[in-house]
């Protein structure tokens, strides 16, 4: 053996061993540093992903609160909609074709569906996402049959909003549609809304969104890498909640009586557009808020096509406008009651003093026309017969300032405070306003104001509430549409007490005089609504009105409908039953012409039905 020389050679390697050892230590050190980085400094991040990996979260949607009318009839509820959700991470390429064929997707739908899946960012691939909503029965059956082979899919039953009365009361009730980025930003808690959720867009659905909505829950499943749910397995390291039950929304009961709404809908059949409001004179509870025409909220929820939207906005009868509170009109002769009350209360005239009506009145160079020659009439008769000449004479005595003051007391030109949707304020023109807009003030403006023309504009709701104040002895109520709100467990969570905005400040005997005059408008042969009376039926009291329409010259409607749109609006506002008032109303027939011929028959026939044929709401 030649070991000696070899030992020497081996010894020569010795320096290299040191370098090698150093290298080895450095490399292993590097690996330990890396492991420390991943395990000690990034632990939270990786643990989060590890938990996400083995859990699949199924959303449990909350049932939105149900809205009912005063008698318990459902006006907004939920029907099941079957939605398909997917966890993109678990989708295999071959699944896409399978899903497309089971769903019987068209070519375009297929392309859209694939494009959507491609867009999902990496970070969201483990999160569920809505793939299809409200699939039909055949699609549901096809998918359910093969669900076991498609672990990436889940079919979730989601309650979808449904409005059984369709258009009736739609402005008040509102509708839902999909949340947008702004809604999500606005919500206090960002988890409240998620893309694809629906939110109340209008009416009560919007006003009570937080209460109606409820809160969603979830169920977490432990799944393996293939997405297969592993029942009864729950690793200790999984520190997440597995189940959160959804909390349904609150239920709302309205003061509205849908039977009354239906009665109005029938009575309005001859006319394309109009509005009616009925309020309880003792509480301000609104029994009807009727506006015609209206969109169908079921249709609005689905998202409107541009064409349909153009149809709605282009309709000359404006279905998108709530005519009970968002549109204002000249009150016409219905306003005379307030002019008369102003005169009585401030004692500027003797109500028994008579004025001669020759059918018109000449003031300066202007000639004002009355509806007919009334001869000698006192205040009472001039209300019953709606004599303009008497009121012009009265107006000179009362003056614009007093008329406006009493009109304001009765709630005109201010928001009623109904609290749902936007309401118009209406308008009372002052002397200063006339001077500013017409150069100087003329007495003619006062005369016009006295008979409800001029520049006075009111909403149907305001008028109904003002007549309620006449009927109840002078209390102006805030209108209320919600009777109570119930928690999901059925207990009352909120009830609404009647709220008086103010006492109008008119003596009882004057209001009594006015009530008697309003009764005779219908009951007396000379009354302007005599023809509309319920023979042997419910006695209704009220004041007719015919409001001129601002000329629509220059508008581009076809001539066939233009003549109609230039016709005056017919009004009838009052209370019933005449002897023992319970409700006050205002009915407006757009372009209906004379109020006595259009609006009054609607009001009397609906009151007849409401107060006799329909059961009283309290009986429910």
């Amino acid at each position: 053996m030649i070991t000696l020389s070899q030992r020497r050679e081996v010894g020569e390697f010795r320096k290299r061993y040191r370098w090698m050892a150093l290298f080895v230590v450095l490399v292993f050190g590097g690996i330990i540093v890396r492991v420390a980085q991943v395990q000690l400094f990034q632990q939270d991040r990786w643990s989060g992903i590890a938990q996400q990996n083995i859990t699949k979260t199924l959303e449990l949607p909350a049932t939105r609160g149900v809205i009912r009318d005063i008698t318990g009839r459902v006006v907004a509820s939920n029907r099941p909609s079957y939605d398909v959700y997917t966890t993109p991470r678990l989708l295999r390429p071959e699944d896409l074709d399978r899903i497309a064929s089971l769903m019987a997707l068209s070519k375009e739908e297929q392309a859209a569906f694939r494009a959507r899946l491609d867009e999902i960012p990496l970070g969201r691939r483990s999160h569920q996402l809505e793939l299809f909503s409200d699939i039909d029965r055949e699609q549901l059956a096809a998918l359910e049959t093969h669900l076991a082979e498609l672990p990436a899919l889940d079919i979730v039953t989601v309650p979808l909003r449904h409005y059984p009365y369709a258009t009736l009361g739609a402005h008040l009730i509102g509708y839902l549609n999909e949340v947008n980025a702004e809604d999500m930003k606005r919500a206090d808690d960002p988890s409240v809304y998620r893309s694809g959720d629906r939110i109340g867009r209008n009416g009560l659905e919007k006003r009570y969104e937080p209460l109606l909505k409820g809160s969603r829950g979830f169920r977490r499943l432990v799944v393996d890498a293939r997405g297969k749910a592993l029942e009864g397995t729950r690793p200790d390291s999984l520190e997440v909640e597995m189940l959160k039950k959804p909390v349904p929304g609150h239920d709302i009961q309205l003061t509205i009586d849908m039977r009354l709404m239906e009665a109005f809908d029938r009575a309005f059949r001859p006319y394309p557009s109009g509005s009616a409001v009925v309020v309880d004179i003792h509480t301000g509870a609104v029994r009807a808020l009727y506006s015609k025409p209206v969109y169908d909220p079921n249709e609005m929820s689905g998202g409107l096509s541009n064409k349909r939207y153009a149809e709605l906005t282009g309709d000359p009868f404006r279905p998108l406008i709530d005519k009970t509170m968002y549109e204002t009109y000249f009150p016409g002769s219905t306003f005379k009651a307030f002019t008369a009350l102003a005169a009585l209360e401030d004692a500027v005239v003797d109500p028994s003093q008579r004025v001669e009506c020759l059918g018109s009145l000449k003031i300066g160079r202007q000639k004002f026309r009355c509806n007919k020659r009334h001869d000698w009439v006192d205040l009472y008769e001039s209300v019953v017969q709606s004599c303009n000449v008497y009121f012009w004479a009265l107006a000179e005595e009362v003056g614009l300032e007093r008329i406006n003051r009493y009109a304001e007391a009765f709630g005109f030109a201010e928001h009623t405070g109904i609290g749902v949707n936007s309401e118009a304020k209406g308008f009372l023109a002052t002397r200063e306003w006339y001077e500013e807009h017409y150069g100087r003030f003329r007495i003619g403006y006062t005369l016009n104001t006295a008979i409800g023309q001029g520049n006075t504009r009111v909403t149907v709701l305001q008028l109904a509430l003002a007549y309620a104040a006449i009927a109840n002895g002078g209390s102006l109520y805030a209108p209320q549409v919600v009777q109570n709100i119930r928690s999901p467990d059925g207990s009352l969570s909120e009830t609404f007490q009647p709220r008086i905005r103010r006492e109008v400040g008119v003596a009882p005997q004057h209001l009594d005089l006015m009530r008697r005059a309003l009764i005779d408008v219908v009951q007396d042969e000379s009354g302007t609504a005599y023809k509309a009376r319920n023979k042997d039926g419910v006695a209704v009291a009220g004041k007719t009105g015919t409001a001129q329409v601002v000329s629509r010259k220059g508008r581009s409607e076809e001539s066939s409908s233009a003549w109609y749109l230039d016709r005056s609006h017919g009004w009838f506002a009052g209370f019933a039953p005449a002897g023992d008032p319970q409700v006050a109303f205002a009915v407006l027939v757009e372009h209906g012409g004379s109020g006595g011929a259009s609006a009054a028959p609607i009001a009397t026939s609906v009151m007849q039905q409401y107060l006799t044929e329909l059961e009283s709401p309290e009986a429910q």
Partner: protein, 369 residues
Amino acid sequence: MAIGRTIRDDFDWPLFIAVSTIALFGVLNLYSATEGGTTSDAYVQQLYWLILGFSVATLTVAIDYRHFERYGWLIYGGCVLALVLVFVLGRSVRGSTRWIALGGFSLQPSELMKIGLIIALAKYLHHDTKTGGRTLVDLIIPGLILALPMGLVLLQPDLGTAMVLAFIFASIMMLTQLKMRSVVTLLATFVVAAPVTWFYLLKDYQKERITAFWDRLGGTQTDLLDSGWHTHQSLVAIGSGGLTGKGFTQGTQTRFRFLPDQHTDFPFPVWAEEHGFLGAVLLISLYLFLVLWSLRIASQAKDRFGAVVAVGVGAMIFWQTVVNLGMVSGLLPVVGMTLPLFSYGGSSLLSTMLGLGLLMNVSMRRFLH
């Protein structure tokens, strides 16, 4: 042979304990990784392989390593022949042919080739009396010794094993002095060879893994569903282990099958997830010890053959460990590479045990003259 006399005095206990501990951890880890699955008896098989491995190692220790030197070329030739046989008798798994069926078992000749290469290089250097700086010309013969098996392995194709062969070769050659000029030439060759390899030799899936790796390093992680997915899930497993781990058989990444090849190429994440940073450091330290210990054995070897064998075995363990750990921790691209002693797999274990037997052999005969 005089082994009976020295077994008590010269037995390398530290080496034996380190190896046994790693192997035992490996079996436990395998049990956890496969529990409840379709391969839940894998740990029993691994135990059989371990027993076989220790027997082979014992046999290797019993024979004076100078006999391996004597039959060096024969051993090398046998291994090369086995590699050739792969193409004749081989069984194809996932697009590459690496296995020969041998009775009830499958044998992976490329694993044995590592030992064959170490012995061949050791024999060559043992008889090469040159002590000064070497030039490229001096590398021709050792280069050919490497090139033959490496080419065969690349044809299978098995990039990982080919790399280990190359690394073993490079490490052994580092022992001998190389002239600066030669080093520069070698580097230049590599620079030229790399693109050629990329465009002509690598398969698409291999390129994909390397691309995914660079994407991840650059932070532009784009494709979690394919190549990057393995590393991602591996990091999730390691990272979620934290300091102390989720506990034995409690790793969720493991149990719910998020780790790919969790008992062959990815056993470390399983370990790290269940035993945390403390467990990970313990395991890594054992490997560090093993490699440093092999260098120590080399430095005390009584001849050049023993020294080279020790360095070769050390290099084999070192590079496989580093590449595997680098791969599972996202520092290196994903290439098929087992963690020696720890991974499931008979051939890998057998060749490792063979190597460790040689190491023990060299260690125990360091004082024999």
